[in-house]
Each structure stands twice: as structure tokens, then as C-alpha cells.
């Protein structure tokens, strides 16, 4: 508006003042269609700068109007704008009617899942909080057995490692809140160092489909996620207290979260466990107590378009190892295998003596994310892990309180992922990862290092895509490249170096030749390529099918390369091989999930071929000053695994349902045409549950767990000269290969909820494991040579949600 007009208007206004300008126009603004009052309608007389808004009853009042023709504009959010012209000569009342259109939203089904699936076409299963809470006093490995196709490799009842469709340890990656766990997982007696109570959701991906986390997940990936804090002002928490009769111990975990509408959230969580010796039906399993102290804190900001999270967790466990499994010679092993009861049984105690493991794991991470409009989401994470593992053996003299193994593993990881998701039919993920790791075995132990000093760094890049070909068909594909470099510093006994014949292939890594040891610097590089391709077809609302083909590449781990020496407590000499190559695995898996009325099912057959599969088995005998020992060597074979996981659920009525799980794995060593070692036996579990939501959510369940005898196993029995008690030395066959008999266990579970305050409730759970106190031995429990497995266990659990 130019100055002329402005002054003109001003003039008019000023002249207007001379007019009568104190008239009032009032009335209501109502909906044309249904006569309802329109609140918040705005009426304006632009020319006179007079405005009014309707109140809660739809009334308005325009005041200070001048006489004459007046144009009034009425607007309302859900209405078309309308103008009215009125002649003002005195105070008037006038109602205005507006056309009110409701913005009609088309039927939108918003399906939200707090935790997204990790792959589209891979076989995966999740465990939710309710299931995980049942295992609050146990370990992650215990909870994972609820997933069909997952069994466990145990060393006693406290060291539980998950086996996914026949594969475990370095072949199964564990992702803890977005960070890949670096906790010496190569060890068969090393349980995952993670507090199960930090996880609100655990997803098991069977196979290498989840390329984002690693290219070497030949067995699969286990992803644990903490609870997602809501974006609202709230304070809530949970405390679980449990007590168990077998172990006569208790565990307690508590967590508290404070969240704000602004997106800020803080969570603090802690766990304490205290257990004494466990018991088999007929005797005490001496020295199997354990303690655990963990805590974690996180603070973060979650604004939809950006945010960050800082997380720190501390895990510490002191785990007693069955005293009777600590043998000094192969003669002891023969005696143990042939004896009905263990050679060392003492009355119950909660003291933990050597042999024992003392492990601590610290994880600190910081993650930032930002969403870009019409593009996607960028995630950047840096994490730091410090793992300290000390293993205490039975030692003599001044060394008795010193660990025999003291490893400190420091890992720095940095990764970034960009998810391109602006196109609803096409999602892509691109990412890169770098990792730097240092292993320090403390020489103060006075025992030759089982694993040497080494530095490892890796760099990786990956891309995955998901493409919706049609409403029912989704394709996914991905590829990943990993570069791995290991620099180690290792001492070899000269006699061992020569026995292995390393001078020919590795003479150039010898740096110093000392009295009876050599100092060497082995260096390895690996270039690993992994890929996945799959599809998901939704036949109907009741049937979904998935197919996935994946290929993964795994470099040998430090134990496989560098092991060299007498494993005291197991009375075996384990030898690694510097000549080992990386493993290359090819897997095809099909999953079918569906339901027919009250019956729902899942089928997952798979076929897995692994070239250069690394296994450890007895090969020869060596004489030492402690007697003769079997030598277990790491070697590579071409292997083939196939199997099927089946689960079926039938809902009888609103109260009763029956849940069945069956899994089978067939592993074959193709190179030597015999069965693969340590394959889980076929197992079948059935659970009958009664639920009554009207009776305080009373739940009663009874479960039958059947494990068949493993008939497919390699014959690795060996003959060794054993000094008899009478002084004679005779050759005895050590029958280490034979799996124990199959077994059937019954378990009971029950829970009931009580409301204690407005926002709090208490859940009381009562469980009995192994109701009939059945004696059994499990093929995958390395202590099966010495003792029976756990006897009956009564557990109570109090869970308080507030």
C-alpha cells in the first residue's frame, strides 16, 4: 500500500472518528448443517480493524463499529470463508451460518510396532518382555531356549551359550542395544556377558540375513533392545524379586524411567544375583554358585526428527565351575566317564572357590540420529567396550590367588547407517562400520598365554534394499564387505613350533629365538563378502511365506588360530592352526507362518552348507610330565547342516491353549563322511496353558520337554596309555563321543496379577522346573561326563510394575 492510500485511509479513519463509531454487532456463529455452535470462529471487519472470536457458546461481539455499509468476514478452521455485508445504523444482533465440513480422514490403519523386524525374508522370532521376565534370575541363554530352533551349549547351569540351528559361539553375533558384543565369545565356556534384565525385546535372526550387524553371522544374530521410553511426561518402573530353591539363591532387578513430553528420558537399572551350589537329584554339584552385579544408565532425547542416546552398562559375574569337572589327567576322565557319581561332592555351600570365572564387561555408547524430510534417517553410533576375563584355577603355592588367565579386551566401534525410506515401496539401508580392538593377556598370571596379545581392526560397508513389488510381495537383498586385519605378538615353545611344522610356512614371522621359546608376530588379513537375497509373500491375512538365501564369511577367531597348550581344567591340549582359512557359509531357509481358525503354525526348514567349517576334535596323544593327554586340534572340513523348526498352537477356547515346538538338525562332515560334533538332538516341547482374565489374570501352565537321544555323532573316542593304580600302564579307550540317553522333563508355571495402587500392579509367579526331579544328562552340556544335570527347582517371583 503506497503512502497516498495510507494517508487517505488515515484521513478516512480520522474523519470517521467524527462519525458515530460505537455500535455493536453481536450474535452467534452456527453450523449450517446441524445448527451447532461454532467455537473459535473469527469475525473480522478489516476496514475498521475490528475483530472478534466466538466463545464456548458460539457468541461473538464486534464493538466500536461505525455506521454505514460494513463488510464482515467470518472464518472457522473447518469451514469455508464467508463474507457478509451489513448496514450498521445502531446496535444489532445477527447470527451467521457457516458450511461446516469435517475433514474426513480416509480409513487409515496405523499398525505400530515398537520393535521392527530385523529382516524381511529371514527366519526370525522375537521374545517380548513378558517372556523375558520369567528368566530374570537366569541368563540370556536360558530365555533364548523359548525360541524354536535355539538350544544351548552349557558348561553347568550358569554358563549358557545359545545355539541357533546347530551353530554357536563365534558364529552367533549378539547385539546389545545396537552394539556388537566383544566379550571373548570364541570360548565354549564363555557365556554372553549381558544382563538379561536390560532387554525388553530379544529378536533371534536365524542365519546371516541381518547384514547390518556383521558379515560373519554364519549361525545368526541375537538382537537385544532395551525398553523404548515414551514421549510424554511420565515416571514408571519395575522391580522383580525372585528366589530359587535349587541354588538357594535370590535375584533382584529394578529399573526406573523418567520421560518428558519434550522427548527427554532417563533410565536407571540394576540387577543383583546371589546363588550357592546347584543340586542334581542325587547329589550337590559342588562349587557351582554364582554372583552377579549389573547396572545400566541411559539418557536420551527423542524428538521425532532428531535425537541422541547415551548409554552405559556394567556387568560383573563371579561364576563357580563344578569342582568335579576339574581333572588333572586323562585317567581321571576315564574314571569320571565310567563312574556313576562325581569324584568330588561336598555339602551345600554358597562359597565360590577355584575353579571359577570372574568376568566384567563395560559398555558405553553414544548414538545420534536425524531424520531428513523426503529422504530418511541417519544414525551414527560410537561405542566402547572393556571386557576383563579372569579364570582362576587350582594352583599351588604363592600362585593360589592368582588367575591362570587374565584377558583384557578393549573395543572401539564406530558405525553409521542411513535408511532411505521416503518411498513407501522402496527402502534402502547404507552403512559403514569401523572397529579397533586390542587384546591384552596379563603375563603376571605366570601361565603361558592361552590367547596372545593382538590388535585387530576392521572396516566394513554394506547396503540392503527392500522393494515392494506388489501389495503382497516384498523382495529384499543386501551385500556387505568386511576387511579384517589382525596383528598378533605370540610366544611359541620351540618344540611346539617345530611339531606344527610352522617354519616352512611362517618362518618369516619369527622375530626372536630364545632358550626354548620363539617370539613371533603373526599377521593376517581377510576380505570377506556376504550377501542375502529373499522374498516375502503374503498369501492372505492368514498365510505368509518367506524365502531367504544368504552367504556369510567368517574369519577364524583368536582361539582357532593361536591356541597352544594344556587346558588345565579340562585335561586336554588344544592346538590352533595358523594355516586356517575363513569359513564360507551358504544358507537357504523357507518360513511359512499361518493360521486356520483357532490353529496357528510356523514351519521353518533350512539347508546350510559351510565350506572350511572349523571344528575341534581329538587327534593324537602327547606324553607330558603329568601323564598322557589327548591333543584336540582345530581343523577345517566341508560341512552341511539341514533341519526344520516347527511350531503349532491351538486355542481350545478363551481359557485353554496348547503350544508345541519341534526342532531337528542334521549336521554332516562332508569331508570325512560322518556326523558333525555337538549337534543338538531333536527335541519336542508342549505347553498347555490355562488363562483367566477375569480371575486377576490367573495363568497356569504345564510343559513337557522331550529331548531325544542324539544318534548322529562322530566317533572321536581315543585310546591312551593310562597308569593304573597298581602301577601297570594299560591302554584304555576314552569314550568321550557317546551322547547320553534322551530324557523327558515336566515343568509348571503360574502367575496372578494384583492391582495395588492406581498405576501399579504386582504379579506373583510360582514355577517348578523338573517337577519329577528326573536325573538326566544333556549331550550339549560339557559337564555331562562328570555329573547329572539340575534337579527340581521351585521358584517364586514377585514383579512390581509402577
Amino acid at each position: 500500500m503506497n503512502y497516498l492510500k495510507f494517508f487517505a485511509l488515515l484521513f478516512i479513519c480520522l474523519t470517521g472518528q467524527a462519525q458515530q463509531c460505537d455500535y455493536t454487532l453481536s450474535g452467534k456463529v452456527i453450523d449450517f448443517h446441524d445448527g451447532s455452535n461454532l467455537i473459535g470462529a473469527v469475525l473480522s471487519v478489516e476496514s475498521q480493524q475490528v475483530y472478534a472470536e466466538t466463545d464456548l457458546d458460539g457468541n461473538y461481539s464486534l464493538q466500536g463499529l461505525c455506521a454505514g455499509k460494513t463488510v464482515i468476514t467470518v472464518t472457522h478452521p473447518e469451514c469455508d470463508v464467508k463474507t457478509f455485508t451489513i448496514e450498521i445504523s445502531k446496535d444489532l444482533t445477527r447470527d451467521f451460518k457457516l458450511e461446516h465440513h469435517t475433514e474426513e480422514l480416509n480409513q487409515v490403519t496405523v499398525k505400530g510396532e515398537k520393535y521392527r523386524a530385523e529382516t524381511t525374508s529371514g527366519a526370525e522370532e522375537s521374545l517380548k518382555t513378558e517372556t523375558l521376565e520369567n528368566f530374570s534370575g537366569g541368563s540370556l541363554g536360558d530365555a533364548l531356549k523359548e525360541v524354536s530352533g535355539v538350544s544351548s551349549l552349557n558348561t553347568g547351569s550358569t554358563v549358557v551359550k545359545p545355539i541357533i540351528q546347530g551353530l554357536h559361539s563365534s558364529r552367533v553375533l549378539i547385539i546389545n542395544n545396537g552394539t556388537r558384543m566383544a566379550d571373548q565369545e570364541w570360548g565354549v565356556e564363555h557365556a554372553p556377558n549381558l544382563d538379561i534384565n536390560t532387554a525388553a525385546n530379544v529378536t533371534v535372526v536365524k542365519g546371516a540375513g541381518a547384514l547390518r550387524y556383521g558379515g560373519d553371522a554364519v549361525g545368526g544374530v541375537i538382537v537385544t533392545d532395551p525398553a523404548v521410553a515414551p514421549v510424554k511426561d511420565t515416571l514408571f518402573g519395575r522391580t522383580i524379586f525372585g528366589a530359587m530353591s535349587n541354588g538357594r539363591g535370590t535375584s533382584m532387578t529394578s529399573s526406573l524411567t523418567k520421560a518428558y513430553k519434550s522427548g527427554f528420558h532417563f533410565t536407571g537399572q540394576g540387577t543383583l544375583k546371589y546363588f550357592g551350589d546347584r543340586e542334581a537329584p542325587d547329589y550337590v554339584l559342588s562349587n557351582t554358585g554364582n554372583r552377579e552385579q549389573d547396572f545400566s544408565v541411559s539418557v536420551g532425547l527423542n524428538k521425532f526428527t532428531y535425537g541422541f542416546e547415551a548409554y552405559y552398562s556394567y556387568y560383573h559375574a563371579n561364576i563357580g565351575i563344578l569342582r568335579a569337572s576339574h581333572i588333572g589327567s586323562v585317567g581321571d576322565l576315564v574314571t569320571a566317564i565310567n563312574a556313576a557319581i562325581p569324584n568330588y561332592v561336598r555339602p551345600f555351600t554358597s562359597t565360590i572357590d577355584p575353579p571359577r570365572q570372574d568376568v566384567s564387561h563395560q559398555l558405553a555408547k553414544i548414538n545420534v540420529f536425524k531424520r531428513f524430510e523426503n529422504a530418511g534417517k541417519l544414525d551414527l553410533t560410537y561405542s566402547f567396550q572393556l571386557n576383563n576375563r579372569q579364570e582362576y584355577d587350582i594352583r599351588r603355592g604363592d600362585d593360589r590367588d592368582k588367575p591362570s588367565l587374565d584377558l583384557e579386551l578393549t573395543t572401539h566401534t564406530i558405525n553409521g547407517n542411513f535408511e532411505w525410506n521416503s518411498n513407501p515401496d522402496f527402502t534402502a539401508n547404507f552403512g559403514a562400520e569401523g572397529m579397533y580392538q586390542v587384546n591384552f593377556p596379563d603375563p603376571d598370571t605366570g601361565v603361558r598365554r592361552l590367547i596372545p596379545d593382538y590388535t585387530m581392526y576392521t572396516a566394513a560397508g554394506y547396503a540392503t534394499v527392500d522393494y515392494n513389488l506388489s501389495e503382497n510381495l516384498v523382495f529384499d537383498a543386501g551385500a556387505r564387505y568386511d576387511y579384517i586385519n589382525i596383528d598378533a605378538k605370540k610366544y611359541y615353545q620351540t618344540s611346539r613350533w617345530e611339531e606344527r611344522g610352522y617354519d616352512a610356512d611362517f618362518g618369516n614371522i619369527v622375530r626372536q629365538r630364545l632358550d626354548n621359546q620363539l617370539y613371533t608376530t603373526p599377521e593376517f588379513q581377510y576380505n570377506n563378502l556376504s550377501a542375502t537375497l529373499g522374498a516375502k509373500y503374503t498369501f492372505s491375512d492368514y498365510l505368509t511365506g518367506r524365502v531367504n538365501l544368504s552367504s556369510a564369511s567368517r574369519a577364524p577367531n583368536p582361539a582357532e588360530l593361536f591356541s597352544d597348550g594344556l587346558h588345565h581344567s579340562a585335561a586336554v591340549i588344544e592346538l590352533g592352526d595358523l594355516r586356517l582359512d575363513k569359513e564360507q557359509s551358504y544358507k537357504a531357509s523357507v518360513s511359512l507362518d499361518g493360521s486356520v481358525g483357532d490353529f496357528s503354525f510356523g514351519l521353518n526348514p533350512f539347508y546350510n552348507k559351510i565350506d572350511n567349517f572349523i571344528i575341534l576334535e581329538p587327534d593324537a596323544i602327547e606324553q607330558t610330565t603329568r601323564g598322557a593327554f589327548p591333543v584336540y586340534e582345530y581343523r577345517q572340513v566341508n560341512a552341511r547342516l539341514y533341519g526344520i523348526d516347527v511350531n503349532a498352537k491351538y486355542r481350545f477356547d478363551e481359557h485353554f491353549d496348547l503350544d508345541g515346538d519341534f526342532s531337528y538338525v542334521n549336521g554332516q562332515d562332508l569331508t570325512r563322511n560322518r556326523a558333525l560334533i555337538d549337534m543338538p538332538a531333536p527335541n519336542w516341547t508342549n505347553t498347555l496353558t490355562y488363562t483367566n482374565t477375569k480371575l486377576n489374570n490367573l495363568t497356569l501352565g504345564i510343559r513337557s520337554q522331550s529331548v531325544f537321544k542324539q544318534t548322529r555323532y562322530p566317533d572321536n573316542d581315543f585310546t591312551v596309555p593310562v597308569l593304573q593304580d597298581n602301577g601297570e600302564t594299560i591302554n584304555q579307550t576314552v569314550q568321550i563321543s557317546h551322547p547320553p540317553a534322551g530324557y523327558n522333563l515336566f515343568h509348571f508355571n503360574s502367575s496372578i496379577d494384583f492391582k495395588v495402587a492406581q498405576h501399579s500392579n504386582l504379579t506373583l509367579g510360582f514355577y517348578v522346573d523338573n517337577i519329577l526331579d528326573t536325573s538326566f544328562r544333556e549331550y550339549l552340556n560339557r559337564q555331562r561326563y562328570y555329573v547329572d544335570d539340575l534337579g527340581r527347582n521351585f521358584r517364586i517371583q514377585l514383579k512390581f510394575n509402577y
Binding site: H326, I327, G328, S329, G331, D332, N343, Y344, I394, R395, R396, G397, D399, P441, P443, T445, G446, V447, R448, R449, P452, D453, K489, Y491, Q493, T494, S495, R496, E499, R511, Q512, L514, D515, N516, Q517, Y519, T521, G565, L566, I573, E622, Q623, T624, T625, R626, G627, F629, L723, Q724, D725, N726, G727, E728, T729
Partner: protein, 178 residues
């Protein structure tokens, strides 16, 4: 060569608990000495123990025996026998012979000999007696058990069957009685 080594060479570990050598000295009443030696140069490494027996034993004689244990992976050699003496209550040697050999053993020491203030009569076996009968030949084996159950049946008189514990060292010697 050592000057071109990498920065931070890790410290070498010479295992302290390795027992490479057992020297058994058998002294006859007239001063004649027969030694039994088992030497494994790399302890728990691939080299097998090398057993040497200096000569035959005389029939119908009582020899007083003495055991010495050494760790010869380090120089000077570490005398492990001293450690056994310090922990006499946690160690015991067991002696056995093959059926054809006509010998018998008896302990010649007790824990009290090594631990001041102890009045225990449980044997250790660092000192023992070996009595030979008629001419024969066979093997003698000596086993050192760590943390044996000395109170179990027969253990204190030299029967290893109920001893439990762990084998710290074992050696078998071919012996002739003439």
C-alpha cells in the same frame, strides 16, 4: 635382530608351575646309589619325557629313597621340592609297581617333618624306602597328587585308589632287580 623388534614386546612367560624333572636317588645300605630320572624338556609341550635309570637294584635290599623335583625350563633350575615341602599337607607321592616286580614301598616322612608346628602323621613321600625281594624286572611308577584326600581309606598307607585330587606329576621307570 632384537633391535628391529616392534615397539612394546610383551613380556615372556616362563611357567612357574612346570615340573620338568624328577630325580629319584635310591641309596643302599652300603652306600651304593641308583638314580631314576625323568626329564621332559618342554614341560607340557610336545616333547615326550626321557626316562633314564642308572643301573639295576640289588635283590633283598632296603634302599632309602629321596625325590627331587625341578623346573628346568628356567635357568637356574627352580627347586619345586621346596614348594611341595611348604605345602606338605596338600601333596602326597604314591608308589606303584608292575605285578612281576618284587619290590615294596613305605613312607619315611610325615607332614610334621616339613611344617613347623604341625603334629600330623600323614605321609608326604619325599623320603621313602624301597625294599627289594628276589630278582625280577618290571616298572615302578611314582605319582604326585595335589590335594589328595589323605583321610580316605588306604590313602595314608599309599593306596592311590581313593586319593582323588589331581595328578601334578607322574613318571614310570623300567627297573631290574638282580
Amino acid at each position: 635382530m632384537s633391535s628391529c623388534s616392534n615397539d612394546d614386546i610383551p613380556a615372556i612367560v616362563n611357567q612357574e608351575e612346570v615340573i620338568t624333572t624328577m630325580n629319584v636317588t635310591l641309596t643302599g645300605p652300603s652306600g651304593d646309589i641308583v638314580t631314576l630320572k625323568s626329564y621332559d624338556s618342554d614341560g607340557d609341550g610336545p616333547n615326550a619325557p626321557v626316562v633314564t635309570v642308572s643301573g639295576p637294584l640289588t635283590a633283598n635290599t632296603i634302599y632309602s629313597g629321596d625325590i627331587e623335583l625341578l623346573n628346568q625350563t628356567v635357568f637356574p633350575a627352580e627347586n619345586i621340592t621346596l614348594e611341595i615341602e611348604e605345602e606338605a599337607h596338600e601333596h602326597q607321592f604314591f608308589f606303584a609297581k608292575s605285578d612281576a616286580l618284587n619290590t615294596s614301598f613305605a613312607y619315611a616322612d610325615t607332614e610334621a617333618d616339613y611344617i613347623s608346628g604341625s603334629d600330623s602323621v600323614d605321609p608326604v613321600g619325599i623320603a621313602f624306602t624301597l625294599s627289594t625281594a628276589e630278582a625280577s624286572s618290571g616298572t615302578i611308577s611314582i605319582t604326585l597328587i595335589h590335594e589328595p584326600s589323605k583321610e580316605a581309606t588306604g590313602v595314608a598307607s599309599g593306596d592311590i585308589i581313593n586319593a582323588a585330587g589331581e595328578t601334578d606329576f607322574v613318571a614310570t621307570f623300567p627297573v631290574t632287580v638282580e
